[in-house]
Amino acid sequence: MSRPLLEVEHLTIRFGGLVAVNDVSFAAQDRQITAVIGPNGAGKTTVFNCLTGFYKPTVGRMRLLHAATGREFLLERMEGFRIAAEAHVARTFQNIRLFPKMTVLENLIVAQHNTLMRASGYTVLGLFGYRGYKRAEAAAIDRAKYWLDRTGLTERADDAAEGLPYGGQRRLEIARAMCTEPVMLCLDEPAAGLNPRESEELNALLRFIRDEHEIGVLLIEHDMSVVMEISDHIIVLDYGKKIADGTPAEIRNDPAVIRAYLGEPEEAA
């Protein structure tokens, strides 16, 4: 097996006396959807916050590998915005965080900020109509259009993001994350609040991202129909500890997991 995209080793996060995440180690692969599940308060979002630089871990190492270049990044040592800009980790939120006053298209363009900033000579050259910037801008718009098309938002491109319906905002968040050209996409409960049809579309979109864009997807999700259907690999957390790690079939029958989910096998299945 090739070296994993992400290796998390002995990750521990304490807030004062509270141990939110306790010695969790796991790996996530390229071209796979890795789901992180567990009851409320298990520490799933805290792990995400660590991976994306919101929190610094108390103990532990998070190593991200760019397979194409062989470059390694130690995420725990990086400043927040560099994790996105250099290590190319993107994320979405449980409670949607779009730029509400910008248009849908602008939300996707702003996600390509660093590429455009470089191409425009930090805006200065761009002001004088520098050709390289024009090209980069056109490419950025093309990429945005591609994702608008994929997420079915083309019609709404010039509307303010806050005007989109809930499901549209969710899809836009994923589109925006993809516009940063991530190697790893972290999704925090993307199916929350979606109706069954939308949730089906989401599954298709995530599979498409995994298969066509060949990146690793890390997914926190409560909706087991989503998790069991699309995950390649599942990690189960409970009270900050990892209690299981395996394929959906293994997890479904894991006694520790069934116990954590209130001893009700239907819940886990």
Binding site: F81, A84, R91, F99, M102, I109, H113, S120, G126
Partner: protein, 315 residues
């Protein structure tokens, strides 16, 4: 007595050009407020430094024998913009960035501290006496002539100075609007304004963007400083205070956080001030009172300012 329309017209032009000065400073207040949510009370001093740098630039040009006015003015403009950018950047780096994430009051207090510091710093370096500058742009375009009752001619004109002020400001505002709406930097600024953490997650350097905002604000203040120097022909270390307070008033009047609002507020304040001074009895003594009265009235009836949008609490 002059023809009343001619008098009105003169006041109008003078009010607009004064308003543009306030507007340029007000944009700095409103932009910084938008992105970091603080009032940069040292911004008036940045404007004052811009005025001084412009003056010094002129003396340098004069000393090396380049007295031709257009060249001198361009040099003044460029030098004051560059030096002011450095001041704006340093101010943010030294006084505000270390306090980011602390209580809301802390940067406000350092802002006031920086304001006092910069005033005294310029007073020490440049002296407390007003520094004069001879009028660089005499003359104007004669529009029409009216007979005054005692049968002398009175010529209504737009001075070249006022014309230049209006042209510079309009060009600058157009460029500035372009930067904010169409460039990566402008988009990053708007993104940081709406959600700094999310902006960072998309790889935007938030600290860098905030620094760039201070630099832009300082550059606009430099232009305002240059215009002020040319318009009044005399500056001292204390001009930043009143101009700063009025520009702040303009920003609040237009709706703090709104860029067109800042310009609108600036022009309104300039017009109110000029018209009050021109028409009311003993108006020129009370013109500042008139300005702040209008602010009070607007805030009572429209607390978010003229173009400001009310903050809707998120659910």
């Amino acid at each position: 007595m002059q023809d009343s329309f001619s008098y009105f017209f003169n006041q109008l032009i003078s009010g607009i050009s004064l308003g543009f000065v306030y507007g340029l400073i007000a944009i700095g207040y409103t932009m910084v407020y938008g992105i970091v949510g603080m009032i940069n009370f040292a911004h008036g001093e940045i404007f004052m430094i811009g005025a001084f740098v412009a003056l010094i630039a002129f003396f340098i040009m004069d000393a090396i024998g380049i007295g031709w006015v257009p060249v001198a003015i361009v040099a003044m403009l460029l030098l004051s913009m560059v030096i002011n950018a450095a001041y704006g950047w340093t101010l943010e780096r030294v006084a505000y960035r270390p306090l980011r994430g602390s209580t809301r009051l802390a940067p406000l207090i350092t802002a006031i501290g920086m304001s006092i510091f910069l005033q005294n710093y310029v007073q020490l370096l440049q002296g407390a006496r007003p520094r004069p500058l001879r009028p660089l742009i005499p003359g104007g375009i004669e529009l029409w002539t009216v007979k005054t009752p005692d049968n002398t001619d009175y010529t209504v004109q737009i001075s070249y100075m006022e014309l230049m002020i209006i042209v510079i400001t309009v060009v600058l505002m157009a460029a500035f609007t372009y930067v904010i709406t169409r460039t990566p930097l402008g988009r990053a600024q708007r993104a940081c304004e709406q959600d700094q953490k999310m902006a960072a997650l998309l790889g935007i350097n938030v600290n860098g963007t905030i620094a760039a905002t201070f630099v832009l604000a300082a550059v606009l203040a430099a232009v305002a400083g240059l215009i002020y120097t040319l318009r009044y022909g005399s500056i001292d270390f204390f001009i930043g205070f009143l101009a700063g307070v009025k520009a702040f008033t303009a920003a609040v009047l237009g709706g703090i956080g709104s860029l067109p609002g800042a310009m609108l507020g600036g022009v309104l304040i300039g017009l109110i001030e000029t018209f009050f001074a021109g028409y009311a009895e003993r108006g020129s003594e009370y013109k500042d009172v008139a300005v702040f009265m209008v602010l009070v009235v607007v805030l009572i009836f429209r607390p978010t300012g003229l173009l400001g949008k009310p903050d809707i609490e998120k659910v």
